[in-house]
């Protein structure tokens, strides 16, 4: 039951070999057994899930099979779900029960999906380890060989990635502002894609940095990610940055192959001090694509080294503005004060965790009078140069191949000494957010300690199909079939 993929579960449901209710119960049992250990879900929704599964079974019995009828999913707790507590992993939203449904989750429900629960994350999606959650850290289902110490699942969508890797759900939603889907996918040995900015509506997703935030799926295969993205994506008049472009058949693109494709290898990603096993995996990925008929091209993205610093101006600036809404007046936490200003200050000091407070303060500073031009405006100009680099590179190639992250999963509590050390996790993923292009992480191998490592495929804007084609080609060649130590059915 736990070895289904979305594609195989869908076939079994349609062939009546399994019911949606059986599939849902099996996953709820797995959550009951393993979530106390993993802390992947903040809220479990057994009643809702059972009702949705019953409705899916009724629809399937009537011969009405939708794209995700009866498929149990976990939803990152950054997506507003109507009538279900939504936390953003922050105390400041305690309590908040949205009276509306985000567009992406509404699309998934319309496609027949079953929601098992709301997945843990870094507070307001700010982090690369899931250590900043007000609801406690998530444990990665993988452990180092001969070492039981708990590792992080990556972040910010750490609960989503851990839930899918440990087989608590067949797929999950995530959001990616600087790598928050791709880095946890790499750390947990699963597939995740951040689509092109504008592919999925941001309406009803708790905002972090609006010009960078983008929703996307996690699953255990490239094809499953393609199926999920097809259901999540689409134009939404309620999000003015949502793209009014057709949603292609992403799943069909997975079988295209890479023969004749030109794959760019950006030389600037080969940083000094890159771990030898990351470098070796990257070379292996290049060889796999070459063997399958792709042409490998050396390309240059000269502003790569500045992407992360640019991000840490742009994202906090947008966050400081977006998070101004948490004022203790209209929803969420309130800590009273003698006047309105004290109420604001007390509420925000009590409600925001340390990393969120730091980013709001950096954002406030770089936008403040006298510093705006030196920091924020300069960062926006460097961002334009980063986009120009990609536009130029894509004149010579169809997709890019890079490592997803500079390391495998690290231990809970590691890299916490200073903020910048943690930020460096996103060095390979942030440039795609700055440029708005799609990026996918696919598991490609293990490091010396037995932990999964991902390769990243970057594509042209709105060409997720090529990204899926290349990702599926790597998946076939890698034949990655190692399973994490902690998983349902183990």
């Amino acid at each position: 039951m736990h070895d289904f993929t979305i594609a195989s579960a869908r076939a079994a449901l349609r062939a009546k070999k399994v019911s949606a209710q059986e599939l849902t119960e099996a996953h709820l049992d797995a959550i009951a057994a393993l979530n106390p250990r993993l802390n992947a879900l903040i809220t479990v929704m057994p009643e809702t899930a059972r009702a949705q599964a019953a409705a899916a079974d009724a629809a399937l019995a009537r011969g009405e099979a939708h794209a995700l009828s009866g498929i149990p999913l976990a939803i990152k707790d950054l997506f507003c779900t109507g009538g279900v507590r939504t936390t953003a992993a922050s105390r400041i939203l305690e309590p908040f029960v949205p009276p509306y449904e985000s567009t992406v989750t509404a699309n998934l429900l319309r496609a027949g999906a079953v929601f098992l629960g709301k997945a843990n994350l870094d507070e307001f999606a700010m982090g690369s380890s899931n250590m900043t959650s007000a609801f406690g850290p998530v444990t990665n289902p993988w452990t180092r060989r001969g070492d039981n110490r708990a590792l992080v699942p990556g972040g910010s969508s750490g609960g989503s990635a851990a839930a899918v890797a440990a087989r608590l759900a067949l797929g999950a939603t995530g959001t990616d502002t600087g790598g928050s889907i791709r880095q946890p996918a790499s750390f947990c040995g699963i597939v995740g894609i951040k689509p092109t900015y504008g592919r999925c509506s941001r309406w009803g997703i708790v905002a972090f940095a609006s010009s960078l935030d983008q929703a996307g799926p996690f699953a255990r295969t490239v094809e499953d990610c393609a199926i999920l993205l097809g259901a999540m994506a689409g134009h939404d008049p309620k999000d003015s940055t949502s793209a009014d472009v057709p949603v292609p058949d992403f799943a069909a693109a997975c079988t295209r192959g890479v023969k004749g494709l030109r794959i760019g290898v950006p030389r600037e990603y080969r940083s000094d001090g890159m771990a030898p096993e990351i470098e070796a995996l990257w070379q292996q990925g290049i060889a796999w694509l070459r063997e399958q008929g792709a042409e490998i091209i050396d390309v240059s993205l000269p502003h790569t080294k500045y992407a992360l610093a640019t991000y840490y101006i742009v994202a906090p600036a947008e966050a400081s503005s977006n998070l101004a809404r948490y004022d203790g007046v209209r929803f969420g936490l309130r800590k009273d004060g003698e006047d309105l200003d004290q109420l604001y200050e007390n509420t925000r000091a009590a409600g925001f965790g340390a990393e969120v407070r730091r980013r709001i303060m950096i954002g406030t500073y770089v936008l403040s009078a006298g510093y705006y031009d030196a920091y924020y405006l300069r960062a926006q100009k460097v961002r334009a140069l980063i986009l120009r680099d990609f536009t130029e590179a894509f004149r010579h190639c169809d997709a890019l191949l890079t490592p997803t992250a500079p390391s495998a999963a690290f231990g809970q509590g590691e890299k916490m000494d200073d903020p910048v050390t943690m930020y460096l996790n996103d060095v390979f993923t942030v440039p795609a957010n700055m440029a708005g292009i799609p990026g996918l992480s696919v598991p490609a191998g293990l490091d010396a300690q037995g932990l999964p490592l991902g390769l990243q495929v970057l594509g042209k804007p709105f060409d997720e199909e090529t990204v899926f084609a290349v990702g599926a080609a790597i998946e076939r060649a890698a034949a990655f079939n190692v399973l994490p130590a902690i998983r349902a059915g183990a």
């Binding site: 009276p99 900015y197 101006i313 730091r358 303060m361 406030t364 100009k381 140069l385 910048v420």
Partner: protein, 95 residues
């Protein structure tokens, strides 16, 4: 440039986040660490480059200027920490 304690307090005030005195020195160190690392952007020649403000390489769509939502007072007020009738309640602002 490096932030002094008074500037850290001023930023916190602008951001409406209460800071206890003991929180200032560690925050000062962390913020200076981040800002010092960001200084590398000064190496980049941005002469004549237009700033990129958004993530989408497309023109924003226009829509008809008409009301498409509303009359959901109870939904709007449903999560209020404090309310007085159909209003959000806050401490006295005007004497």
């Amino acid at each position: 440039m490096s932030l002094d304690p008074a500037t850290v307090r001023r930023i916190a005030r602008l951001a409406r986040i209460r800071l206890d005195d003991a929180e200032v020195p560690p925050l000062q160190t962390e913020l200076n660490g981040i800002l010092g690392w960001i200084e590398q952007l000064n190496e980049v020649n941005v002469e004549g480059v237009e700033p990129l403000t958004g993530g989408a390489q497309m023109a924003l769509k226009m829509r008809a200027d008409e009301v498409t939502d509303g009359n959901i007072r109870d939904a709007v007020l449903a999560n209020a920490p404090d309310r007085a009738g159909d209003y959000f309640a806050v401490p006295k602002v005007v004497e």
